[in-house]
Each structure stands twice: as structure tokens, then as C-alpha cells.
């Protein structure tokens, strides 16, 4: 059962043009960073928005995906390498992601699955098929996770294997998700309390 992007969302990524996707990404970035662009709108401040790793990473991914769709596989692979060298974000060119991708901290992002619009990935989050050295796991590269619209992944959260995640889902920090999730769910880690070591001897 190979799940595709079209089954979940009904719209494919190619329904938008390249520049429109980029425009949506910039709009989403400005929405999240509206607190610190209010002060003075100088020309340097306007240009510096486009040089943040958050937007550069999105731009390189969109470009590589465009080239991959047109059949330029080698050039797409080269742009993925540039993205990896500059931002240390490993985003596969053949995965389909809707408009409004927002990645505030790009280091260590692994993104190898399909997703709808308004995806948010915080630091070190991973969306991948469950690869492995064992023979049963090795064919799993084509069974990718499929995320719905408005999904947020917290820091160090991961979605592994052929998993379907519904719309409006929040995956909390440090959660490892390996099963299907319906719409409008909120997922936490099972750890509830913290403990401190070292202060008990003084009291």
C-alpha cells in the first residue's frame, strides 16, 4: 500500500507555480517574525529577510523540486548538496510539500516525506521512512510518511515509517511517532516529571 500525497490532500504540489510557492513561504516567514520587523523598514532590513537560512532552505528545496519534476535529476541533486553544505538540512527533492513551509532552525532537518500546506518544522525534527540494515526494513524507502495540512513538529520530534498523519496535528518535542494519527490530535512525550540531583545533601 503505497500512500501518495494526492490521496490525503486532494491537491498536488504542481497545482501551484514555483513563484507562488516561494511567495507563500515568505508570507509565512513574515507572519512568524512580525515582532522584529516592525521597528524601522530600511532597505538592508528588507534584503536581509531573504538571506536568512529559513528562507534560503525553502528556496533551494523548491528549486530542486522544480528541476526534479522537469527531469533534471543531476542538477536537482547538486542543489540538494548545496543546501546540505550551507544549511545542513537534508530535504529530498522528490517529496511533495505544499505552500507555506516554515523551518526556523535548519540544522539537522531530515525531510523525506509528503506534506500538505503550512508545515512547520522546529530544530532537529525528522520525517523519514524507517530505514535500516535488516532485510525487512530495506525496502521501506518508498513507504514514506504523509502529513496533512497545518502540521507542526516540535524540536527533536520524528515521524518514521509509512504513517498517515491527519490535519491540524501538533507533535510535541522528543516524540517518536510510528503509527497513524487522525485529525486534530495533540501528542506529548510520556515523561511527566523532572528530578534534580545534588541539592538534597545540603538540605
Amino acid at each position: 500500500m503505497e500512500t501518495t500525497y494526492k490521496e490525503v490532500n486532494g491537491v498536488t504540489n504542481s497545482s501551484f507555480s514555483f513563484w507562488r510557492l516561494i511567495k507563500k513561504d515568505i508570507e509565512r516567514y513574515l507572519y512568524f517574525s512580525r515582532d522584529f520587523i516592525r521597528e524601522r523598514k530600511g532597505i538592508i532590513r528588507k534584503i536581509s529577510v531573504f538571506l536568512t537560512p529559513c528562507l534560503l532552505c525553502c528556496f533551494f528545496y523548491r528549486l530542486s523540486h522544480l528541476l526534479f519534476r522537469r527531469g533534471w535529476r543531476r542538477l536537482a541533486a547538486m542543489i540538494v548538496r548545496i543546501n546540505f553544505l550551507l544549511n545542513k538540512a537534508d530535504i529530498s527533492p522528490d517529496c511533495k510539500i505544499g505552500a507555506g513551509l516554515y523551518i526556523p532552525h535548519t540544522v539537522g532537518i531530515i525531510l523525506n516525506g509528503h506534506a500538505g500546506i503550512n508545515l512547520t518544522l522546529y530544530a532537529f525534527s525528522a520525517v523519514t521512512p524507517l530505514e535500516g540494515s535488516k532485510p525487512g526494513h530495506q525496502g521501506d524507502q518508498k513507504y514514506r510518511p504523509v502529513l496533512g495540512n497545518n502540521v507542526t513538529l516540535g524540536s527533536e520530534a520524528m515521524v518514521l515509517g509509512s504513517v498517515k498523519v491527519g490535519n491540524d496535528v501538533i507533535v510535541g518535542a522528543k516524540v517518536s511517532l510510528v503509527k497513524d494519527i487522525p485529525d486534530k490530535a495533540k501528542i506529548y512525550t510520556p515523561y511527566e516529571s523532572t528530578c534534580s540531583i545534588g541539592k538534597s545533601e545540603e538540605n
Binding site: L85, A126, E131, G139, K142, M158, S176, K186, I187
Partner: protein, 183 residues
Amino acid sequence: MISWKETHHRLRCDKERLQEYYRNSGGLRPIWLPSSPSYQCLFFHRISNYFFSNGRRLLARLFWHLNLIITGADISPDSDIGPGLLLLKPAGSAIAATLGKNCCIMGHVAIGGGMSDTRDIGAGPGLPLIGDEVEISYKGSILGPVKVGHRAHIGPGCLVIRDIEDDITLEPRVPLIKYGDNL
């Protein structure tokens, strides 16, 4: 003391393992294998390990820095890794331990010393000793002087701070899920 012949043999084993992985997985293959970061990080580590064990510390440090800049993997030069390692996503993984042959590491792992315990069990002060054919999934971490047995499988997000016997599978805890409209 690791000879150049041994280093070359280990690198060839790594290359064969990576080629086998790309052949069996149905995903995108790299056009040229040395351009993939999972080969580059092992190449730099093997060379820096060779220089470190032969007393050339400055050259070892140079290749370690190159590895940090190009692939983002922090594999310390004195860690002795057996032939046939498979490191899928090198960015953000830190390794300082003794590993056996044919291990598989997926990515974002932290393998090294803990905070305070500095006992030496064969890998160095406070560093873990890992057996053959161990598979460590995404974000698994092994900290402190710990012995991990052969063919163990450490699941995604698992933390190991005690000894593990052979043929043991660790799985992550089931997360808490809440449903509703007002979230």
C-alpha cells in the same frame, strides 16, 4: 596502531555496505557515490583515525575539522570503528566510542561519555564499548562506560546508560495523545 592496509580494507567494506544499501532501498541513488555525505564522513574519519594512531595529531585534527565543516558529523579521531559501518544521515551525529564490525547508525545519535563516570572498560575513560552488527535508530544515544552486546537493536529516541546483553531490542515509549477541537 592501525596500518594503511587495514584502513583501506575498512573503507572498502564501508563502500560495499553503502552500495548494497542503495541497491536494496527503493529511493533516490546518488549519481556518484563519493558525493554522498554518508560516504564522505566515513572517508574523513578513517583517514584522521589513521593519522591519529600513527602519531600525526595535527593532520588528524585537520581531517576532523574538514569532516565537521563538510558533513556535520563529529566522529572523534581516536574512536576505533570496525569495518562496514553504515551512517545514513551524518549531520548532527556525535560519536566517540569503540564499535564492532557491520554496525548501522541512522542519524542524530549521541554516542560517548556521560557526565561524571570515567571508568575504563576497554574503549577509553568513560566511553562505551559496542559490539558487532548493532543497529542504532534515529536519536538513540549511548552515554557513559556501557557495554552493548552483539546484534542489539536500539529503537528511535532510546537512551542507554546501563549494560545491554546480546540480541536485545529496545523500543520507544508510547506517546500520550489528546483529541479535541479546542487545542
